[in-house]
């Protein structure tokens, strides 16, 4: 039995904001099934009492002095933006016109 269906891949791609094509869905569904089957082995080993490692460096609450520093100039930041207007990033519409 496959671990992931074509429909699931399509759903996940939507969640990840990837407008994948039909051909890509076919290829990815097969490949992801192979990958997931291989990586499932991780389930065989670790028992409940093993603590998970999210990060290898033992650091907690890294703070810095709350002092204002130099910032990048707006013009420099917006120079390579896809679209800018009035010193801001210009974005496509986010609300329906009727809303």
């Amino acid at each position: 039995m496959s671990t992931i269906s074509r429909d699931e891949v399509a759903h996940i791609a939507r969640l990840a904001r990837l407008a994948v094509t039909e051909e890509e869905l076919d290829v990815f569904a097969g490949q992801l099934d192979v990958i997931l089957t291989s990586v499932q082995r991780v389930g065989e080993v670790a028992a409940d009492e093993i603590p998970p490692t999210s990060h290898v460096v033992p650091l907690t609450n890294v703070l810095r002095p709350d002092e204002p520093g130099e910032c990048l100039a707006p013009g420099d930041v917006l120079r390579s933006a896809p679209a800018a207007e009035q010193n801001r990033f210009r974005v496509p519409r986010i609300l329906d016109e009727e809303a």
Partner: protein
């Protein structure tokens, strides 16, 4: 001596003593790039103007009697996933094509302060996802030893540039082996520092708990000199280590005498045997025998959880990538597709990401999103994090019995272009030996140790966290022993 065949240490000395100008050195490397890079495709962008201006500034400083910094005039090739002010940075992705960052990464600032001359930006697998540099949106890089083969990946542009004498030094990044494996298959030295030893500020993130930048060089000493220049605490990176860096340069010099008396070398049982090319196994075994002759005590050590490293890695890295790559949303930088005044932000985002990302990046984003999704999180990402704990425990236990662990760096020599592009699991297997140290955050180096059918083989030397100096010491000994066994440095056997 021709500038392009000099080591970084030799160039720094010659420039400091006025035997050669920094401009001559930079120009000689640009000439080499002009003559070989149409074929190798190691570089994506050249900063000829910036590099020559930096070289001229060094030459004027010397003429004015100023004391030059440690690596003044030494050229370097920079992986194009490290941001550079006013120089295009793409991560080899169409989604960032044309993006000119407004700031320099911390390591770029450090390298400039050390007098290093950055020649340009090198090719990579898109967002560092891959083991062959074939996942670049701008064409594959070729291996200088055999142009029908890959230079490894993801830092394959950097490894090819150093092996092809286009630069004596290069910067790579290593998430699962992306410095060590390309170093191994191109016959050069590459080191992944202890996680947090080198600032990640300005490194475009792939998998934040694993990513680490590090040096490439043609000699162990050169790699150590670059390591020293880039290591150290950075307040701009909250995961940066505050502990002082070990003296890797002294370790490289000490190791070169090839006396390993008192050192215990552990050979990892799980990283060898079936699935490893016979020529690779033979070269590694011969090198281990030489280490023993040089006074090291050699023991075999089992690290059973290493068998699960591949599975854990290919859950953790894609999971973190799916989150990190959410920033490529067609709003702040790079590509925007389908913004016709009617399409919604969401539609523009989805179309842009489909047009801008290559297949491997999409595959990993989908895999990571799936592994993190409700109902699967515990079975995949949670379990992978537990495996990570077990791998760290195996390392800790091993280092109670030995000072360093060794293995092949990669199960095979450089593989042919195109051989694995449609088979993700075969591609992922190239990282089999390098993944454990990535997951544990421990330092590991790849040093050339011999040839298999005319192609280079790398030995991986792994040490406990913070003990990067041990990697350099043993690697320098291997370099001395290999050169003696082959009659000349390994790279001199290249037909290049």
């Amino acid at each position: 001596m021709q500038p392009i065949t000099m080591t970084a240490a030799q160039i720094a000395d010659a420039v400091a003593q006025g035997q050669i100008s920094a401009r001559e050195v930079a120009q000689a490397h640009f000439d080499q790039i002009a003559s070989v890079d149409t074929e190798l495709n190691a570089f994506l962008t050249l900063d000829t103007e910036g590099a020559l201006a930096a070289a001229d500034a060094i030459d004027s400083a010397r003429a004015d009697g100023e004391k030059l910094p440690a690596l003044a005039g030494v050229p370097l090739a920079l992986k194009d996933i490290i941001v550079t002010k006013d120089v295009e940075t793409t991560a080899a992705s169409k989604i960032l094509k044309g993006w000119v960052p407004p700031y320099d990464a911390t390591i770029v600032r450090k390298m400039r302060a050390a007098g290093i001359v950055v020649l340009g930006k090198t090719n990579l697998d898109e967002f560092a996802m891959g083991s062959s540099t074939e996942n670049s949106a701008f064409g594959a890089t070729r291996n200088p030893w055999d142009r029908t083969r890959t230079p490894g990946g993801s830092s394959g542009g950097s490894s090819a540039a150093v092996a092809g004498y286009e630069a004596p030094l290069a910067i790579g990044t290593d998430t699962g082996g992306s410095i060590r494996q390309p170093a191994a298959v191109t016959g050069i030295v590459g080191h992944k520092p202890t996680y947090g030893a080198v600032s990640r500020y300005g490194l475009i993130a792939f998998s934040s708990s694993l990513d680490q930048a590090g040096p490439f060089g043609r000699t162990v000493l050169d790699a150590a000199l670059l390591h020293e220049a880039i290591a150290g605490h950075d307040p701009a990176d909250s995961t940066s280590l505050t502990a002082p860096a070990p003296d890797v340069v002294a370790a490289a010099r000490e190791g070169a005498d090839a006396d390993l008396t008192g050192l215990t070398v552990g050979v990892v049982t799980e990283l060898g045997g079936a699935g490893y090319e016979a020529g690779v196994s033979a070269a590694v075994a011969a090198t281990i025998a030489q280490l023993s002759n040089a006074g090291a005590k050699v023991v075999e050590i089992s690290c059973p959880s290493f068998d699960y490293a591949l599975g854990a890695y290919y859950l953790i890295a894609p999971s973190e990538a799916s989150s990190n790559l959410a920033k490529f949303d067609a709003v702040r930088f790079g590509l925007r597709v389908g913004d016709n005044g009617v399409a919604s932000l969401e539609e523009v985002m989805s179309q842009t990401r489909d047009a801008g990302f290559g297949a491997e990046v999409k595959r990993r984003i989908i895999l990571g999103t799936y592994a993190l999704s409700s109902g699967y999180y515990d079975a995949y990402y949670g379990q992978a994090q537990k495996v990570r704990t077990l791998i760290s425990r195996d390392f800790s236990k091993a280092f109670e019995q030995c000072d360093v662990l060794v293995s092949p760096t990669s199960p095979t020599v450089a593989f042919p272009l195109g051989e694995r592009v449609d088979d993700p699991m075969a591609m992922y297997a190239a990282d089999l030996c390098t993944l454990p140290a990535s997951l544990a955050g421990t330092p590991a180096i790849s040093v050339p140790c011999g040839l298999s059918e005319g192609l280079p083989v790398g030995l991986q030397v792994m040490a406990p966290a913070f003990a990067d100096d041990r990697c350099y010491r043993v690697a320098a000994a291997v370099e001395t022993l290999t050169t003696a066994a082959l009659g000349k440095p390994l790279l001199a056997h290249s037909t290049f």
